[in-house]
Amino acid sequence: MSIKDKVAIIGMGCTKFGENWEMSLNDMIIEAAYEAFQDAGIGSKDIQAAWLGTQQYGGAGMALADPLKLHEIPVTRVENFCATGSDAIRNACFGIASGMYDIVLALGVEKLKDWGLRGLPENPGTAHPVLDQGVTGPGQFALSAVRYMHTFKIDRTPMAQIAVKNHHNGNLNPKAHFHRELTVEQVLNAPMIAWPFGLFDCCTVADGASAAILCRADMAKSFRKDYMLIKGIGLSASPENRSPHFDYLGFPATVGAARQAYKQAGIKNPLEEIDCAEVHDCFSWTEISNYEDLGFAEKGKGWRLIMDGVTTLQGKLPVNMDGGLKCFGHPVGASGIRMHYELWKQFQGKAGPRQIKDPHIGLTHTLGAVVSGVTIVGTP
């Protein structure tokens, strides 16, 4: 079974990401959803089912149904760590592909800046009293970065280059959290957050929402010519990270999700066949690991892609054209759908100064260390 070419995206919306002090969770939901409705040329009453992706907010599907006044249709909350947005899209796709619904909504949102916390919260209600205490996002990924640097004998420079690239791209994007170019020196000299990650190696903690309207592929043409087709969707949970023999050099969850998505899409050589990618650069090193786990490079050689300029806007395989989590921002549940939003704009030639040349196949990738989502999308 494959999902290939059965589901289309016909409208998308995305708020500005960042410190949205003046917007509530509901304000962002409404803004992203109505941009998508308008983009698709439909109204909220055309939606037959909806999926809400949100990681921190526990308000069930009602958190989406209430602000949009979606009456008496199925609305489900999806949560899967940082792959939450990807999984909302995935569930929406299967709702369509099953034949049950014609038009559905997938919306991701996160409101992180109202609580005054540094970094992401730690899920106090479910964390183990002593085994899970004090473990931060940067700390978790840093454990792998330290091992990677030791094993493959690299310093912090390639990681700093990732931050420089993504800030350059984000600076070209009005909806990004930050608009500021960085230098390698600035990244290397920033205050330490969790060795080897300095402040500029870490993605931003941001507010934001993003939305996608999906429909049956055979209906898409009746809405617009420049729709986007789902070519493959993978999602993978990986307890292997917690095994006593785990090597801390990458993410088996990404490998698994990519394998599923590539098989459905018929992709054999991703570096050659994919035109652009939005990947989960929660930390600078994570993007290097993503290159390897997604099959763009061999394990231990991903850092060469950034040093050789392969993944810049002008490179062979541009990555994180919109600035990525690093510069665009990471409102957890919104990120997976935000990545689709960038490919949507790139495919339509509407990406402004960061527009790349004539893309037709793109990849999105989210990663919550032990869970990952990979989606392949393409032009009709």
Partner: protein, 471 residues
């Protein structure tokens, strides 16, 4: 014959130069330095360290009880010897008792262990004493008091120092005290307190012991006298005709500090480390009365030397600034970490006590994978509920680590998170402790130490942490 069958000690790695405290507040510095526990240490964690040192060569199943003595137990209501008994994985029928409220509580616990064993109610009882008393900032007590713990295994077989007898008195006197609501130890006028409290009681009990056992001061190779200061024990020895030059056991006041209820045991451990078969040791301890003992060293003493004791712990040290010291001891309100307060659940800790506190992991019966915490379904071969519960080693090395500055909790600006591969198998991620910036590295030899993680839920949450191995 009943006596000491094993000994152990614990002295925190951090030492505060007394001159630093004196320089901060003005006033005269006392000589030397004092040991101070890290922010995650308390009397229970220090006692646990001493007990594990003491059990280096004894199987825990031979231990019939744990007596914990301290004037600084972390709870006013809740037993803590039961926690140590659980860490040691003693049977539920083992005796567990806390002794408190007087610096004499250590030797009172030892007497109780002796009486129980002589009565045939137990074979071996672990007696441990620990203290971390606080003197008010800028006081001489602040400079004097140090943190430490010691443990003595009292038993009726393989005795290394037999207890020939004891003489004990009690005395009602308000010379040193700390009420429920006090943080710092208070005291009456020194000259009176020393003369009518310490000197009078010690003299009476030592005289009683010598009379009871018909022994002369010359019969002893070492005299171990717990002491509130450096001078009083020397005056005391002279009053009996002991020779301070040859018979006095160092009080450790200049190197560790006055360690409260642990002092007498720490001094005795130091004496036993140097003792030869046939040596006789006098031990006397003060606190609302006095307990005096005579101990005779046997040839078994040579068999219990493989431990850190006082000697190794004394040499293994790191300097600490006064600013860090007051931070650890919570003397100043500090800015919070702007992170969520830690969560806890007494139910979870109760349900998982065995795995968490005894450090038990699972070993797959099919593929031999060793895992921690216990996994019902094997990570490697997928077998379900086919595992043996095994005790993991407390030694290992760092597989990877990070210094996390986002996770600083107020007591320290950063937390070092490690991934530790344990000797003989198993992997654990307990926070690092006593690890300075830049000290962690891949393959660093480490060991696990039982520590307080946090106070989430309004109670102390204890677990194993990782520290650079102490030489």
């Amino acid at each position: 014959m009943v006596g000491i069958t094993s000994y152990g000690a614990y002295i925190p790695v951090y030492r505060l130069d007394r001159a630093l405290a004196a320089r901060t507040w003005g006033g005269p510095p006392m000589m030397g330095e004092k040991a101070t526990g890290y922010w995650d240490e308390d009397s229970v964690t220090m006692a646990t360290e001493a007990v594990l040192d003491c059990l280096s060569s004894t199987a825990p199943e031979e231990v019939d009880g744990v007596f914990l003595a301290s004037t600084t137990l972390p709870y006013k209501e809740k037993q803590m010897s039961s926690l140590i008994a659980t860490v040691l994985d003693l049977p539920r029928t083992a005796r567990a008792a806390d002794f408190a409220n007087s610096l004499r509580c250590a030797t009172t616990a030892m007497k109780s262990a002796l009486d129980a064993i002589e009565a045939g109610a137990a074979r071996k009882i672990m007696v441990t004493a620990a203290d971390c008393r606080l003197g008010a900032p800028q006081s001489m007590r602040e400079q004097l008091f140090g943190d430490g713990a010691a443990a003595l295994l009292i038993g009726n077989s393989e005795v290394a120092a037999s207890i020939e007898g004891y003489y004990s008195i009690n005395d009602e006197i308000t010379d040193v005290w700390r009420r429920d609501e006090d943080t710092f130890v208070e005291g009456a006028e020194d000259r009176w307190a020393v003369t009518y409290g310490y000197m009078k009681n010690m003299q009476e009990a030592i005289a009683g012991l010598l009379r009871k056992l018909k022994l002369a001061p010359t019969a002893f190779s070492k005299v171990v006298l717990a002491a509130p200061d450096a001078r009083s024990p020397l005056d005391l020895m002279k009053s009996f005709g002991f020779d301070p030059k040859t018979q006095a056991q160092d009080t450790l006041v200049n190197t560790v500090g006055s360690t409260g209820s642990a002092q007498a045991f720490l001094m005795l451990v130091a004496a036993l480390e140097e003792a030869k078969p046939g040596d006789r040791i006098l031990l006397a301890n003060y606190g609302n009365g006095c307990d005096a003992f005579s101990l005779l060293v046997t040839d078994q003493i040579a068999k219990i030397r493989e431990r850190r004791g006082v000697k190794v712990h004394l040499k293994s040290k790191k300097a600490v600034s006064y600013e860090r010291y007051i931070r650890w001891k919570s003397f100043l309100p500090l800015e919070s970490a702007h992170r969520q307060v830690p969560f806890s659940s007494p139910v979870v800790l109760w349900r998982e006590a065995r795995g968490l506190f005894t450090l038990s992991g699972s070993k797959c019966k099919r593929c031999s994978l060793i895992d921690y915490p216990i996994q019902r379904v094997c990570h490697q071969c997928g077998s379900k509920d086919e595992y043996d519960e095994i005790k993991l080693s407390r030694k290992g090395k760092l597989f990877t680590y990070t210094e996390d500055y986002l996770s600083g909790r107020g007591a320290e600006q950063f937390v070092v998170f490690p991934v530790v591969d344990l000797e003989g198998g198993g992997r654990i991620k307990g926070h690092m402790t006593e690890c300075e910036p830049g000290e962690a590295r891949i393959d660093l030899p480490v060991e696990l130490a039982f520590r307080k993680m946090h106070e989430g839920g309004g109670f102390n949450n204890y677990f194993w942490k990782t520290r650079p191995r102490r030489a």
